[in-house]
Amino acid sequence: MLEVSHIEARYGQVTALHDISLSVREGEIVVLLGVNGAGKSTTLKAISGLLHPARGEITFDGRRIDRMSPETIVRRGIAHVPEGRHVFPGLTVRENLIIGASNRRSSAAALERDIEEILEIFPELRRLYTQAAWSLSGGQQQMLVIGRGLMAKPRLLMLDEPSLGLAPVIVKKVFNTISQINAQGMTILLVEQNVNLGLKVAHRAYLLETGKIIRTDSAEALRDDKSLRNVMLGASAPAHPGSQTTRQL
C-alpha cells in the first residue's frame, strides 16, 4: 500500500534521514521504534509531505507522492496525526472534528454521521463536545487529534507518539483504541518511543538509529529480544572516555 524507498531528508544542514526504506501493507499496524532523534517523526513528515525528501521515492497505491503538498496527500488518503497533540486550541471539540474532514466533500448530514462514529469510539469526547480544545486535558486532546485524523476517512493513519506525556492509564486507553480501529480495518503506521507498548499493538516493526533503519522484524520476534532494550537506551555503542579521538568537529 505504502512503499518508501531509499529516501534521504535534511533540515537545513542536518541530514535527518539517510536511506530509509519501508513498506506498509493493507490492514497492518507497523511501528517505527528508536531513540529520540533517530528520524521517526521525520519519516512521517516526509510521507505526509510536510518535508520533501532530497532523494528517494515514496509511492502510495503505486503512485508517487513524494513531490506532493500535504494538502494533496491527505486527499489521497493518508492522515498524519503529528506529535504533541496539535489541536486547534481556539476551536471546540466539534469544530476540530469538522476541520478534520477538510480533505473531502461531504454533506452536512453525512458529516454529522461521521462525527457520531468518532464519538462512538471516543465516548469521552461527547461530554466535551462544545468545549474549546485548549481546555482539554492531555489525554482528551490526544483522543481528539486521533478522532480528527479519522475524520479524514484515511486509508492509512499515521500516529506520531500518541503516548507522549500521558499518564499510563490513559496511554493504555489510547492504545486499546488504536487496536480497536485497526480491527475495524484501518491501516496504521505508528511512531512510538515506548518499545513494549509499540510492540504490543503492532504486527511489524522497524528499528531506526541516526536516520537509518537498522532492523526490521515481526513484532512478535522483537518482543522476545532483550538486546532491543540496549538499543532503546542508547547503550549500543558505549564511548570510551579517553579514547584517542583526534578528529576535529
Binding site: 503538498s69 494538502e71 498524519h80 496539535h86 486547534f88 476541520i99 480533505n103
Partner: protein, 294 residues
C-alpha cells in the same frame, strides 16, 4: 446640552465604526499571518476612490456601486497579498522586512492614487440626500446612521461567517496552526488570500462609508488607519470583539475630546489613549500575554 451630547455620541460611534472595520482587518491579518499590514488603511482610500468612480463616473446606483467597490477593493487586496506580501514573506524568516515592505507599499499606493486622481479632494454625495433627521428631538446627520447600521450588519455577517460556516472555521484553524491545517487538507495559501480579501474589503467599505463625511483624498486612509491601529491595540490585537470595542471607544473619545477639550488636537487623542494603554495595560482589553517559546 444634552442633545449636543447625543449628537456627539452618534458622530463618535459612526467614526468609531469606521475604525472598528479597519481594526478588524488588522486583527484578521495579524492573527492569520502574524504580521501587521501597514497598508491596511490605504484600502479604505482605494474603496472610496472606487466608489467615487462608480457613482460619479459610471452613474451606478449607490447600492450596486457599494457592492462592486467593496468587491474590487477585496480583489486589490488579494493582488497586494500575491505581489508584495507573499514574496517578502517567503524570503525572510523575520517579520521586520515584511512590515517595512508594507510601509513602503503603503506610501507607494497613496502616491499612485494621487497620481491617478490628482491632488484635489473629491466629493461623494451621502447616500440619503437629507441634511439631518430628527430622532426624539435630536438632529442627526443621516450618513452617521448609515455608517452605524451598515457596520453592524457587516460585523454580524462576519461573525456568522467565521463561527457558522466551514470555510470560516477553516480560516480560524489555519490562523491557529497552519502546519496542522495543511495536514487536514486545508489549502493554506487560499486561506491567506481569503483573509486578505476579507480584511481589505472591510477597509474598502469603511472608506466609502466615511467618504461623504470627509472628502476623498489619497492620504485619507493612512490617518484613519493609524487610529484604527490604535483601536486594535487597545482591544488586544487578537480578538474581533476587542477591535470593535476599541474602535468605538477611540471614535467616542476623539469626538468628545475635540468638542470638550480642544479641536486642534483631535488627531492626538487616540494616540494619547494608546500610550496610556501601552504603559498600564500593554496587552489591551481582551488580549492575552504571550511569551516566546524557547
Amino acid at each position: 446640552m444634552f442633545s449636543e451630547f447625543i449628537q456627539l455620541t452618534v458622530a463618535g460611534l459612526a467614526v468609531g465604526s469606521i475604525y472598528a472595520l479597519i481594526a478588524l482587518g488588522f486583527v484578521l491579518i495579524y492573527t492569520s499571518v502574524n504580521v501587521v499590514n501597514f497598508a491596511q488603511g490605504d484600502f479604505a482610500m482605494i474603496g472610496a476612490y472606487f466608489m467615487v468612480s462608480l457613482v460619479v463616473g459610471a452613474h451606478l446606483p449607490w447600492w450596486l456601486a457599494l457592492i462592486v467597490a467593496v468587491a474590487a477593493t477585496g480583489a486589490a487586496g488579494v493582488l497586494f497579498q500575491l505581489l508584495i506580501f507573499q514574496p517578502v514573506r517567503n524570503r525572510s524568516r523575520n517579520f521586520l522586512p515584511v512590515m517595512i515592505a508594507t510601509v513602503g507599499a503603503s506610501v507607494f499606493l497613496e502616491q499612485l492614487f494621487l497620481l491617478i486622481y490628482g491632488p484635489i479632494p473629491l466629493q461623494l454625495a451621502p447616500i440619503f440626500a437629507v441634511d439631518s433627521v430628527s430622532i426624539a428631538g435630536v438632529h442627526v446627520y443621516p450618513q452617521y446612521l448609515v455608517i452605524i447600521v451598515v457596520t453592524a450588519l457587516m460585523v454580524t455577517l462576519l461573525h456568522w461567517f467565521m463561527e457558522h460556516t466551514r470555510l470560516g472555521k477553516q480560516m480560524q484553524a489555519t490562523a491557529q496552526d497552519p502546519d496542522t491545517a495543511r495536514l487536514m487538507g486545508i489549502r493554506v495559501a487560499w486561506m491567506a488570500a481569503l483573509t486578505f480579501a476579507i480584511s481589505t474589503a472591510l477597509g474598502g467599505l469603511a472608506g466609502l462609508l466615511i467618504a461623504p463625511v470627509y472628502t476623498v483624498t489619497a492620504t485619507m486612509g493612512s490617518s484613519i488607519a493609524l487610529k484604527a491601529f490604535a483601536a486594535a491595540i487597545v482591544g488586544g490585537f487578537s480578538s474581533m470583539r476587542g477591535a470593535i470595542v476599541g474602535g468605538l471607544g477611540i471614535g467616542l473619545i476623539e469626538t468628545y475630546g475635540a468638542t470638550y477639550i480642544s479641536g486642534s488636537y483631535r488627531d492626538a487623542y487616540p494616540f494619547i489613549v494608546l500610550i496610556i494603554f501601552l504603559i498600564f495595560r500593554p496587552h489591551g482589553l481582551f488580549g492575552e500575554k504571550v511569551s516566546q517559546k524557547v
